[in-house]
């Protein structure tokens, strides 16, 4: 792929704007709270778009398009089953406790509700995972640009890292959030023309349904058994594994996305943020998954389109989206399309770094190293931690270069940690009896059981490292659902059992942290402004979409 001057100019304009946004955000940063929490002043539309944009990293853009090409329309389940219900639950039932408790982070809520060791476990695992995730984003960006444009790997890593550092260092979370909203708009404008041009060339959705097997263009009809569909899962494991354990484990506990809602200007806005975010989220498959289906139709119908092969001769589906950009886009729009990809990588990286910041400063440094220091001290530390986070991300990018399965490893470990964490949050927010000892024990045992479940099962040659295999799965996806279910259930049971063997906390210490001991769990608002009204609308829209592609 060769770029012309106009493409480089558009990329350059984008970089100028992201740094400019950082400088604008700098005007709002006076305190550590401004830098790390955006001063809790973000309006609804910004918080909502940032909420999904923080999650809309390039792994999703590239990965969902690739999955669309491999698994077909069923990939939409990651949105309509694997995100929407959890986002609605987060907004309606969990945000009152996250926001209302005045906790500055998710681990801090755990400290208030349970104890410091539970907080420390979450803070440490989250900090490590986010910096690794940021580094993997950087690595994936660099190898993509190296493959497409023959740019030097080291140049890509350092220049992207320096730009992200520039705007997060000066503007903190506000800068990251503002850029995420800009990046979301850019991603829509940058990728939508692929869908328009692709559908125009192949003849619309009817051409897709006639060219592809039926199990690639229906999302529920072939889920009666795992063998009947390319994803290798049945409806039960889809709804339970993806729809509950994995998705709730991520959307309800991951501070990277929750931080955007916690930066909202009021409880009502914080509750409504993830609810409003479900509307663009429900429509994202049009620009993330549909291109993958278009690509497969182009390949089948013999159009002059090709997806590069891996060294072993298999199709490299990760290059589906860049191949479509190269196929359809003239110079100019090609620059925008590439900028959209760059933007998605960088928003993923910045989101991880800002979440890493807050957790390291509030949950580790302030709690265990230097409590009761001045606010300006924490602001300085926050800026230093930004540089540290970027440096660690660069290091991780080079580690990832040496181990090409690190992305799989990262996804796996996230799965091990998130599902038991959700069990602890669910119990902690809904009942008074769970104790700190119970929560910590549940987390330890649940996470350990997740490791065991992976080691004792095999899918696509992965797992089984314990030397024996109790279960075989046809796909890694089915295996990850199984691990999440095991981890959640074990954590849930152990937390309850150990809690009953330890002393309960007095109710006075749990006010504002548990359902039943919290005065404001929903905001008083006219019906047309209430989060519940938009949640019902979002549910109806999602159900309609499911029926349309049944």
């Amino acid at each position: 792929m060769q770029l012309h001057f106009v493409d480089y100019a558009l990329i350059g304009i984008y970089f100028l704007f992201v740094i400019g946004v950082g400088l604008v955000a700098k005007m709002k940063v006076k305190t550590a709270g401004d830098f790390l929490l955006s001063g809790r002043s973000t309006p609804l539309w910004i918080a909502s778009l940032a909420f999904i944009s923080a999650n809309l990293g390039a792994q999703e853009l590239i990965g969902m398009c690739a999955s669309g090409a491999k698994y077909g329309a069923m990939t939409a389940h990651f949105y309509w089953v694997g995100a929407i219900p959890a986002m609605l639950f987060l907004g309606l039932f969990m945000m009152p406790f996250y926001y209302g408790s005045r906790a500055r982070s998710v681990p801090e809520y755990l400290a208030l509700r349970f104890d410091e060791k539970t907080r420390a476990f979450n803070a440490l695992t989250f900090a490590i995972m986010t910096v690794f995730s940021s580094g993997v984003s950087l690595y994936a960006l660099a190898i993509l640009l190296e493959a497409l444009l023959k740019w030097d790997f080291n140049l890509c890593v350092f220049s992207a890292a320096l730009i992200v550092m520039a705007y997060t260092y000066v503007g903190g979370l506000t800068s990251a959030i503002y850029n995420e909203v800009l990046q979301f708009c850019l991603i829509v404008f940058g990728i939508a023309p692929v869908v328009v041009a692709g559908l125009a060339q192949i003849g619309g959705w009817d051409a897709i349904t006639s060219a592809l097997p039926a199990n690639m263009t229906h999302i529920w009809a072939y889920t009666g058994s795992a063998e009947a569909n390319p994803m290798g899962v049945n409806a039960g494991s889809l709804i339970l594994g993806l729809g509950f354990f994995l998705s709730f484990g991520y959307w309800c506990t991951d501070y990277l996305v929750i931080q955007r809602a916690m930066a909202a200007r009021s409880l009502g806005t914080a509750q409504t943020t993830p609810v409003i975010a479900t509307f663009p989220k429900a429509l994202l498959p049009i620009i993330t998954i549909l291109p993958g289906l278009i690509a497969i139709v182009l390949l089948k119908t013999g159009a002059s389109f090709a997806i590069p092969l891996k060294p072993d001769g298999r199709t490299d589906f990760d290059l589906t989206l860049p191949s479509l950009l190269a196929h359809y886009y003239p110079h100019g729009l090609l620059g925008i399309g590439l900028t959209a990809l760059l933007a998605s990588f960088m928003s993923g990286m910045a989101g991880n770094v800002t979440a890493f910041n807050s957790v390291v400063v509030y949950d580790l440094y302030e709690t265990f190293v230097k409590p009761k220091a001045s606010d300006q001290h924490y602001l300085k530390v926050g800026k230093i931690v930004t540089i540290l986070g970027i440096a660690l991300s660069i290091g991780t990018a080079y580690v990832a270069r040496g181990y090409n399965n690190i992305m799989d490893l990262l996804q796996l470990v996230f799965g091990f940690v998130n599902a038991p964490l959700f069990a602890v949050f669910l119990l902690g927010m809904s009942a008074k009896r769970p104790t700190g000892r119970g929560a910590f024990s549940g987390l330890m045992v649940g996470t350990a059981c997740a490791f065991f479940a992976h080691g004792a099962s095999i899918a696509e040659g992965k797992g089984g490292w314990l030397g024996f295999s109790l279960v075989h799965f046809s796909t890694a996806m089915a295996q990850s659902f199984f691990i999440a279910i095991v981890a959640f259930v074990v954590c849930f049971v152990v937390t309850i059992a150990v809690s009953f063997s330890s002393a309960a906390r007095p109710e006075s210490e749990l006010r504002g942290l548990v359902y039943g001991l919290t005065d404001e769990v929903s905001v008083k608002a006219p019906w047309y402004k209430a989060p519940g009204f938009y949640a019902i609308l979002a549910t109806i829209v999602t159900l309609i979409l499911n029926v349309l592609v049944w």
């Binding site: 604008v24 002043s41 404008f189």
Partner: protein, 70 residues
Amino acid sequence: MGLLLQDLRFIIGLFFLTTGGVLTAQGLIDGPMQLSVANLNLGSGLAMLVFAVAMLLLSVLTPAPATGGH
């Protein structure tokens, strides 16, 4: 003007005004007077310009408060 610069709608509008303008110009260079979906530069550029104007108008007609952000 300072408050306007801090308004995210204004920033987004300015960005798409710039990039939309570049794309539209490139589209006119590619295929003057061709208003068709085949001219993706022109189509995308015009769409961006419409979006940019909407955002700029919103930022000017409903100014952000002095505190907090838009």
